[in-house]
Symmetry: C2
Subunit: 485 residues, 2 copies
C-alpha cells in the first residue's frame, strides 16, 4: 500500500484491506493543510460508499485511502483544487481471507467485528514501541505473535518518562528553529513507518489502540495549539482510518496534559469523529479525573483504575463497553502501579471479565537498559501472559458476544450467560468448599479451574443447585457451571 507508485492505485484489494491511490503535485502551497485532495469511493452497487480526505506523504506525493467492506468492483474519484491531484479509476475487492473479520465496532456493552465475529478485548501496552530502533520493533512483533493479546496501546508522539529517556528514532514532527516542534509539516518517514507497524499488527490480528496525545513529553508536543491539533488529527485520520485494526484513543492520562481544558478534548473528539469516514472506535483514558464517557462521541470506556469490582457499575452508568486499559502492571519497579505479581495481574483480568468488561495488561520489570515492555516493547519477562491466555480461552468458550455480570450473592459476582452458564473466581481467597446457589434449579456440569496452573478439571456427573462443592483450598481457583443440555 505505502509502496503504491505515484499516479497509480491499488488494483486488487481484499475486503477490509486498504485501497490506496497515489498522486503527484509539486505546486501545493501548504502540503500539510487538511484534505489536499478527497477520495470518493463507490461500492459494487454503484452507490457512493463515502468520502475520505487524502494526505501529503512527502515531496510531491499525495495519497488517499479507503477500506472496502464488501467484495466486488469498486470505483473511485479524487477531487482537489489542484488538477494534478484529480484522478479516477476502479479496483477489485476480493472476499476477506480466512481469519480476517474486519474492524471492531461496539455491540451493546461488548465488541463485534464487521463480519459478526465477537471481539473479546485482551489488550497490552507498549506506549513507545514505534519510537525504538527497528530491530526492537521487530522483536516486539515477534513477542506479540506468541502472546495472547489482541489490542496494543501505542503512542504516536514519543514518550518522556521514567525508564523512557532515550530519543525517539524518528519524530512525527520536526524540530523547529527554536528547539521546539514545528507542526507545519509532518515527518513522512515517521508516518510511513507507523503505517507499516499498524499493518504488521493487523497481520497478527491485533487492534492498534492509537494514542493521539499524552502528557509525557520533553519535545513540545502537548503545546500544540488548536489549529495544529486540528491539522494533526485530520492528517493522522486521513492516513490511518482505512486500516481496519485502528482504534482512536484521544489521549493517555488526558487529565494531566498541561493547559488543556475539557472543551479542548471535546473539540479533538469532534474533529476525529468528523474526519473519519470509517467511524473507528473512539475513547479517552484518564489518570485521576474521568472524562464524561456519556458524551456521544465516546464509543467505549477506556479506564485507568484498580477497582475492577466496579466494572459492572460502570457498564450500567454509561451503557457502553468498558475496557480497563490500566489497572497497574505486572513488574517490580518502585511505583505502586508497576509492581503487581503475575498472579494479581491475571486476577485483575478475571475480575474485569466477571464484571462484563475487558482489561489491559502491562509489564514493568526493571532492565539494565530500561527495556520495559509497557513502554518500549521487546520481550515479555513475566508470568501473567500465559494466565491471561488461559482466561482468553475460557472467554472464547463462553457466550457469543461476551459475559454479562450477575450478582451471585451479596459478596460475589459471577460472569453469566443467562441462566445457562456461570463463571467466577475466588481470587486470592482459598475456600475449600462452596455452596452454589444461583437463582436457577437445573442440572449443571461443573468445571473447577486452576487459573494459576491453567487447568480445567471437569467434575463427574451433574449438580442441581443448591449444591456444595469441595474446592482445592488454594488461591486463584475459579469455577464454571454449564447447564446440561
Amino acid at each position: 500500500m505505502t509502496s503504491t507508485a505515484a499516479g497509480a492505485w491499488t488494483r486488487e484489494v481484499e475486503q477490509y484491506g486498504v485501497f490506496e491511490v497515489a498522486v503527484r503535485c509539486a505546486s501545493v502551497a501548504d502540503p500539510g493543510a487538511p484534505a489536499p485532495l478527497t477520495l470518493q469511493v463507490s461500492g459494487p452497487d454503484g452507490e457512493t460508499a463515502g468520502v475520505a480526505a487524502g494526505f501529503w506523504d512527502g515531496g510531491d506525493v499525495y495519497r488517499a485511502r479507503w477500506m472496502p467492506d464488501r467484495p466486488g468492483r469498486w470505483s473511485f474519484t479524487t477531487r482537489s483544487a489542484h488538477p494534478e491531484l484529480v484522478t479516477h479509476g476502479a479496483f477489485d475487492c476480493a472476499p476477506a481471507p480466512e481469519g480476517s473479520h474486519g474492524p471492531v465496532a461496539v455491540a451493546g456493552r461488548h465488541f463485534r467485528h464487521a463480519d459478526g465475529a465477537p471481539h473479546f478485548s485482551f489488550g497490552t501496552t507498549c506506549y513507545a514501541w514505534v519510537h525504538q530502533p527497528a530491530e526492537m520493533q521487530e522483536q516486539t512483533l515477534r513477542t506479540l505473535g506468541e502472546a495472547p493479546f489482541n489490542k496494543l496501546r501505542m503512542c504516536v508522539f514519543p514518550k518522556h518518562y521514567r525508564f523512557n529517556e532515550n530519543e525517539p528514532t524518528a519524530h512525527p514532527y520536526p524540530t523547529s528553529a527554536d528547539g521546539g516542534r514545528d507542526f507545519r509539516l509532518p515527518n513522512p518517514d515517521f508516518f510511513q513507518m507507523l503505517d507499516r507497524r499498524v499493518a504488521d499488527l493487523a497481520r497478527l490480528g491485533i487492534q492498534a489502540d492509537i494514542i493521539l496525545f499524552h502528557p509525557y513529553d520533553r519535545w513540545g508536543y502537548p503545546a500544540m495549539n488548536a489549529r495544529d491539533r486540528d491539522r494533526y488529527l485530520r492528517y493522522i485520520v486521513a492516513r490511518l482510518a482505512a486500516y481496519a485494526n485502528v482504534w482512536w484513543s484521544l489521549a493517555n492520562e488526558y487529565d494531566i496534559v498541561p493547559d488543556w481544558s475539557e472543551e479542548d478534548w471535546d473539540a479533538c473528539f469532534r474533529t476525529v469523529q468528523a474526519a473519519d469516514p470509517h467511524g473507528r472506535l473512539r475513547s479517552i483514558h484518564n489518570c485521576v479525573r474521568w472524562y464524561d464517557h456519556g458524551k456521544p462521541w465516546v464509543t467505549h470506556v477506556s479506564a485507568q483504575s484498580s477497582e475492577l469490582r466496579r466494572v459492572a457499575e460502570w457498564r450500567d452508568r454509561w451503557n457502553k463497553p468498558v475496557v480497563v486499559d490500566e489497572c497497574c502492571y505486572e513488574g517490580n519497579i518502585e511505583p505502586l502501579w508497576g509492581n503487581l505479581t503475575a498472579a494479581e495481574m491475571a486476577h485483575r483480568f478475571w475480575l474485569g471479565t466477571i464484571g462484563g468488561g475487558y482489561v489491559g495488561h502491562g509489564e514493568t520489570y526493571l532492565h539494565p537498559s530500561d527495556e520495559l515492555w509497557w513502554s518500549k516493547g521487546g520481550v515479555l519477562r513475566g508470568a501473567s501472559a500465559p494466565r491471561i491466555a488461559f482466561l482468553r480461552r475460557i472467554v472464547e468458550e463462553g457466550p457469543p458476544l461476551g459475559y454479562e455480570p450477575a450478582r451471585w450473592r451479596w459478596d460475589m459476582w459471577a460472569a453469566a450467560r443467562g441462566e445457562q452458564e456461570y463463571l467466577f473466581t475466588f481470587g486470592a481467597r482459598q475456600p475449600a468448599e462452596y455452596t452454589f446457589d444461583p437463582p436457577v434449579r437445573r442440572p449443571f456440569r461443573v468445571d473447577v479451574l486452576d487459573t494459576w496452573n491453567m487447568t480445567v478439571s471437569p467434575l463427574e456427573g451433574l449438580r442441581t443447585p443448591p449444591f456444595r462443592l469441595e474446592l482445592p483450598g488454594r488461591p486463584y481457583t475459579a469455577v464454571r457451571l454449564l447447564a446440561a443440555e
Copy 2:
C-alpha cells in the same frame, strides 16, 4: 481465689492479684439481685481504695473481690442488709512478681499496663472456647501458651452459628420451664469455670476480652430484658472486674442483635461503667454499622473491617486506640471472612500496625468435627501465627508506647517513631527497588525484613535520604530505617 472458704478471705495476695472474701447467708430472698453485699477496701495508707459489689456464688455463699494495686497491708469491710454478710479484716499485698504488669489502660492512642509497661495488643479469637469440654479448653490454653497472642476475644454466652452446633458444656443461666432462659439466678458452676479460665489466661499474660452479648443464639440470651441485663452486667462485673486481665467487650456484632436499640447499648455501657470500680477497658464491636466510639464510656475502638489502611484515620476521628478485632480470618471456609491466606492475614496485622493500631487474628480451617480455632479454640493449623510473632517482635523493638502513623508519601504509609525510625511494608507488591525519602536528612541504618520467611537483614553502612535501595522483588518485604546514634 475461688476456693476461698466461706467465712474466710485471702490473707496474702500479690499486687494486681485478686483479693476475695467469702461469706455465708441462707436467708437472702433474691440471691441474684445486684450487690447482696458491698466490699470497701482501704489501701496501705488507710485511705479508701474503693467499693466493689459482691455476688452470689451458689447455695448460701457470697463473695466479693478486689484487685490491690500496690503492696502493703490493706484492710476491708463488707456491708449488707444481711448481718451474716458483714465482716471485716486485713490482708497483705506483696509486690507484683516479675512479668506481672497490672491491668491495661489507655495511653493516648495506645495501651499501657498499670506499671508503665507498654501493651502492644496482638489478639486472637476463640469465641466459644469456654463452652467446649474441659479437655479442649486445656488444649486451647496449651496452644495459647505457644502462640504470639496477648488478648483473647471470648463470649460469656454460648454460640450458635455455622460450625458451632454443639451444646455448651454449661450454661451461664439455666433453662426455664418453657425452654427459654431463666435469668433470675446465674449458674455458679459456669461462672466458677469462667473465673478459672480468666485466671488461666492471666497466667499466660493474655487479656480476656470478654464479650458480654452477641447475636449468635438459639437459647434465648439476646431476649434478655432491660432489668435482667442490668442484673447480669452487675453480676459479671462483680465477679470478674478484680481480674487484672479483663476487658469488657459490650458485644460482638452489636448491630445485628435483634431488637436492641442504640439506647440499649448506651445503657449497658453505663451500667458496666458504674458497676466497675476498677475501670476496665470498654469497647463494642460492630458488624456493619459502627457504634459512635466517641461516646465517653468507650475507651477504645474495637472494629470489624478489612480496610486496614484507614486505621490512622479512625485514630484521628476518635482520638482513641484502634483495635481491628476482625479483619477476616486465615482459613478455608466458604464465607468471605474466613478464607484468607496466612500471608494476607499477617499482612493485615502489618497494615494495622503501620496505621498506629492493633489487629486481631482468627483461624477458620475446616475440620471434620468443626473444631475451628476462631470459635472453639483447640489447636492452630495455619501459618500466620509465627508471622504475627515476628511482627510482634519488631513492634516490641520499636517505640516505647507504639508506632505512630506517618504518611511517607502519597501512596505509602509508614509506622514512625518521630524522625528516628520508620517501618513499612510493601505487602503483596514486589518492587525490586525503592527510593527512600522521609522528610529528614540524617543517616539511617537499614533493615530489610522478609515478613514471610521472618528474617531481618541489616544492610551494611548508613544511608542518608534520599537514597535508593535494591529490594528482593518478592511480596511481603518490609523495611525498617533506624536513625544512627
